[in-house]
Symmetry: C2
Subunit: 329 residues, 2 copies
DNA sequence: ATAGTATGTGTAACCGGTACCGTAACTATG
DNA sequence: CATAGTTACGGTACCGGTTACACATACTAT
């Protein structure tokens, strides 16, 4: 593997000149440049990013920490982040934390070792101190789908409560009178926000009852079980707001098995707007701008990395009601 | 950010000694070690992987190139690869090639620059020369879901043809007489293999007709369109073998809209065994051992990296028939 | 004519580690 | 008691780049 010195020898110039050619910095004569490029070619020289990073003190690498890439929310996020990063010449390291603080700490250690330039972290188990600690080591950080209002941490979040309100209002508009909610795990902030939105509207209409709420796990299976429980307690349910699309799909299965037709007997709406919610019947949902979040997160991160001014606060993104078959007769 | 020299100064030892402590190599007195660790602690020193990689000539990083992480096949793969790699102390860089040779070359360049230790690539557009070129730069490579029989390249693949045979036989067993096939893009090798398996069985039974085949795009949308076309030509179709699960979901939608009940009127089977095939009705499918593939690929890669002997040939993995609701009355 | 600026290139000191080599004291062996 | 092995360190040349600084020359403006 050829090095910059090999090239410099072959081209009869100094390493500085070769470096200038590579980086298009400083003055280099056209003729010299040609000679250098020729030498690089014949040696099939590829500059080492490692050495470059070491000397230049930047790795052009960021990390994306997600709980589990298997949850379809996160591939969409990952895709957007990777696209944006790649366009800016950055590389993305993928990490699955599994909601496990231990694993998370472990990753943080690795990433510090690697001197990566920044982290985008979607985690509900993370502690604000960990982020601040990172910033102290001058590693930029952006949090997604979680926030820490009392700390100077840049966070990106959808308007979860507002979205929940939209969802429940939509069910009411469609004539539902007994509306259940399948919440996500309540230690997760967005779950609580969505629950709150649900509660708000239900109370407004004097329809609130704790037994209309079941806690799921954000997965198909949990939605399925929660729906079964709910049906046992309230066979007359005619509307369901699931805390995310996966649980909505689980609910759909449970309803199907219970012989309830969607949307005729029960109207169902999810949250997230993942691409795969194209089941039969197609799922109405509150769509988060997932790709937008990923892109924005990456751009905010870059600004931090470049020390450009950014407001280290929570940025809230609008959600959209997507009316599809599961709430339309 | 403290360096090894800072630590060595504070602990009154040489950098060599600190290095020995860090790597637990060579001889270090207990007392000295304690002093060094103490110094590392007070300076909150974190060794730089970059410098280490540069000196040690290995990056402990591998890359995973997939066409598109949005296709649910690939998160499962990514998850398995990341898990296996992480356990072995490796970091995974994620790349989306979008089936775009240009983007692919671009990534290959970046990865060479980074001196990563190895690449796992799931691509149908890649050329064997590119892989051999990598190996020449002593970057290990494993190919997934594609293969190059005439080159010394380690590849991992499911038994696609065999799986297709199983799928069609299953439909026959269920009493289907007019069985259509929605193939994946035919420039993709596994698509052709599956098509071949289908054709084989159909010919065996004298049921083959080219018009029973429609080409899809491995996505829901393409499956949907292909199914519509097929129904136009053959309203009497009573069995469908889709080239992957996403297209099967698309077909399901088309059938639903056409008023065909699954599985009563038409039996439907997919391919892949992605976790999300839990729609209603649940999809029968030929399950690939995706996680197994990811894990195996990573382990093979490691062996190559460590220069352990590995057979650079195509390794074939067994598939499994999962009978679920879409083929069961 | 002269200072000032633009152009072109080389030298060498970094970046933050690893690892080989040398030194030195202490212990074991014959 | 000579010799060799073990233990415990330090010195320093790498790894492959970047970049500040020095130096030289040519061109411009005053």
């Amino acid at each position: 593997m050829a090095t910059i010195r090999d090239v410099s020898k072959l081209a009869n110039v100094s390493v500085a000149t070769v470096s200038r050619v590579i980086n298009q910095s400083g003055y280099v004569n056209e003729v010299t440049e040609k000679a250098v490029r020729q030498a690089m070619e014949t040696l099939s020289y590829v500059p080492s990013d490692m050495a470059r990073s070491l000397a230049g003190k930047k790795s052009a690498t960021i990390a994306l920490i997600v709980p589990d890439i298997l949850n379809p929310f996160f591939p969409e996020l990952a895709r957007a982040v990777e696209d944006a990063a790649h366009q800016l010449g950055y590389t993305v390291i993928l990490c699955n934390s599994d909601h496990d603080p231990e694993k998370e700490r472990n990753y943080f250690g690795m990433l510090k070792n690697k001197r990566i330039d920044g982290i985008i972290v979607a985690s509900y188990t993370i502690h604000p101190q960990q982020l601040l600690e990172l910033q102290r080591q001058s590693i930029a950080a952006v949090v997604i789908d979680n926030h820490f209002p009392s700390h100077p941490i840049l966070a990106l979040q959808s308007k979860n409560r507002e979205g929940a309100v939209m969802a429940v209002r939509h069910l009411l508009d469609r004539g539902c009178t007994t509306i259940a909610h399948i919440s996500g795990p309540l230690e997760i902030l967005p779950s609580r926000e969505r629950l709150l939105g649900y509660e708000l509207v239900m109370r407004e209409h004097g329809m609130f009852a704790p037994s209309l709420i079941a806690e799921g796990d954000f997965h198909v299976e949990g939605g399925y079980r929660a729906m079964q429980e709910l049906l046992k307690l309230h066979p007359d349910i005619d509307g369901v707001f699931a805390g995310n699309d996966l649980m909505a799909i689980g609910a759909l299965k449970a309803l199907y098995i219970a012989g309830k037709a969607v949307p005729q007997d029960v109207k169902l709406i999810g949250f997230d707007g993942i691409a795969l919610a194209t089941v039969v019947p197609e799922l109405s949902t509150i769509a988060q701008p997932i790709a937008e979040m990923g892109k924005l997160a990456t751009h905010y991160l870059m600004r931090q990395i470049r020390n450009e001014p950014v407001e280290c606060k929570t940025h809230e993104l609008d959600v959209r009601l997507l009316v599809r078959q599961s709430t339309t007769d």
